[in-house]
């Protein structure tokens, strides 16, 4: 019975007992946490189709009796590892696609080596992606390819699609892809051209270190890391919570360095001059206007995305040249949009229903 003050005296002994049990469990599980490694991630069977420096092209082994005609190439963001899309069985986007009958390839990145500091935007857009698309065509025997780009992988896919607009890209799906970089307000302020000397940084360090990339992401929500550790301690008795925490924490802290020249181009062309939004972007002297893209496009954005706010992404659909285009806003954040329980019930089925009928 609740007392008028709002305190339920009858339930106090029961609650104390439960909390004592959890405290004991915390101690036991806490020792386990530090003495074991987390779940194995990215274990869906795959073959490395091609590997060149920072670039890796994987082909995932089909898991259905028949597959759609058009293969799918996923272009991962250059700051992070692709296993966010292949966490563990039952929570893997890749596994979901394979079971739904897609033939899946992924362009994933490893840390650029010091000698790769000279990789430019041209290398990514005019070499790596077209090379992977060619290899997907060769491997699958199909001339059409659907492309899925996550975050900055989406930006690279847009640049590729706008330059090779009569190429093999048949469908384009972007997840949380920014095009108006002025609206990434904090990143924009961190890289304010009056104070941020990108030339000095790149000339000094070569590749931009992953700690710097990670810090800039964490600065967007400076209290969240501490709070997540408090939450971990509170829930360390809960195996499912701990498993999920370890998966996402490992991925989030496994940030990649960025090739120096590539970072210089991102800062100057996108952060400073906002060229993609202003329709004056070019890569290697080739114009990259969003209006050049005419293929069907789906853009999925997250309602609570603190990394790519909606204002930075919302103009993509209006600026793209396609007639078959759709934006879908789903509940979740930048990562929970694509991975975890939220993605399983929201984004994945939506993507399947959109892409399936365009993959024959």
């Amino acid at each position: 019975m609740n007392a008028p003050t709002g305190l339920d005296f009858a339930s106090i002994p029961e609650r104390i007992q439960s909390e004592v049990q959890r405290a004991i469990q915390r101690s036991i599980k806490g020792v386990e946490y530090f003495s074991t490694s987390g779940p194995t991630l990215g274990s869906t069977p795959k073959d490395v189709l091609h590997s060149r420096g920072t670039m890796n092209l994987y082909h995932y082994r089909p898991q259905s009796d028949e597959i759609y005609r058009i293969p799918v190439l996923i272009v991962m963001a250059t700051t992070n590892r692709g296993y966010i899309l292949d966490l563990v069985p039952g929570q893997s986007f890749i596994e979901f696609l394979l079971k739904r009958g897609y033939d899946v390839y992924m362009l994933d990145w490893t840390a650029p080596r010091p000698e790769e500091k000279s990789l430019r935007m041209e290398d990514y857009v005019l070499d790596f992606i077209p090379d992977c698309v060619r290899r997907v065509q060769q491997d699958s025997g199909e001339k059409d390819v659907s492309v899925i780009g996550y975050c900055f992988g989406g930006v690279l896919s847009l640049l590729y699609g706008s330059i090779f607009n009569d190429g093999p890209m048949k469908n384009l799906i972007c997840f949380t892809t920014p095009i108006d970089f002025r609206e990434m307000k904090l990143f924009s302020n961190f890289s304010d051209r009056r104070y941020f000397d990108v030339d000095r940084l790149v000339d000094s360090v070569g590749n931009v270190p992953p700690e710097m990339i990670l810090s800039s992401f964490e600065m967007l929500r400076p209290a969240s890391r501490t709070v997540s550790q408090i939450q971990l301690w509170e829930n360390i008795w809960n195996d499912e919570f701990v498993k999920s925490y370890r998966m996402f924490d490992r991925w989030a802290t496994d940030t990649l360095p960025l090739a120096g020249e590539y970072f210089r181009a991102i800062t100057k062309d996108l952060m400073w001059d906002n060229k993609l939004f202003n329709d004056n972007m070019s890569v290697g002297g080739r114009a990259a206007k969003l209006a050049n893209i005419k293929v069907p496009i789906l853009h999925a954005v997250a309602e609570h995305d603190h990394i790519v706010p909606y204002d930075a992404a919302k103009h993509l659909i209006t600026k793209i040249g396609s007639t078959d285009k759709e934006e879908v806003m789903l509940k979740g954040g930048h990562v929970s949009l694509v991975a975890g329980a939220n993605a399983i019930k929201r984004l994945w089925p939506k993507l399947d229903s959109w892409l399936g009928k365009r993959s024959i």
Binding site: N2, G6, L7, D8, S11, R15, E19, H50, S51, R52, G53, R61, P62, S64, D65, E66, I67, Y68, R69, R100, G101, D103, R113, P114, E115, E116, R135, Q138, S140, E142, K185, L186, N189, F190, D192, R194, Y195, F196, D197, R200, L201, D203, S204, V205, M212, M219, L220, R221, P222, A223, S224, V227, I230, Q231, E234, S353, G356, K357, S359, I360
Partner: protein
């Protein structure tokens, strides 16, 4: 069952959540100012400059010790990378030639047919 409003653990969790939101919001406001950008980049610039000076000094030291510098190691790595790239190309050409000749490729897993159709409007999943 304890009402969430009266549960001290739930109250604590709510308070932590609110504190997180409040602190993030406050910090975001502070970090939006040009003064923050100036201070942050000044500190970053000093660190980058110091790193460069230290690198130059270390290179001179390694030279005096008759040891290869980072730049020389990078040069070797570049050559290795070029060899790796060429090996990759040769491997790719060989697999294409092998596929063209109709010879069975070792380790090749048979692929399912590309005949999949999307589920019908009735919601049936094939």
């Amino acid at each position: 069952m304890t009402d969430k409003i009266n549960d001290p653990v739930a109250m604590w969790q709510k308070m932590v959540g609110e504190m997180e939101k409040g602190f993030n919001s406050f910090a975001n406001q502070a970090m939006s100012s040009p003064e923050f950008s100036q201070a942050m980049n000044r500190a970053g610039g000093v660190a980058a400059g110091a790193q460069k000076q230290f690198g130059d000094l270390m290179e001179k030291y390694l030279l005096s010790m008759n040891l290869p510098s980072r730049e020389q190691m990078t040069g070797i790595a570049e050559r290795l990378q070029s060899i790796e790239g060429q090996l990759g190309e040769i491997k790719s050409m060989l697999s294409q030639m092998s596929a063209g000749s109709g010879a069975p490729q070792s380790g090749t897993i048979p692929r399912p047919p590309r005949t999949k159709r999307p589920p019908s409007d009735s919601g049936e999943q094939r």
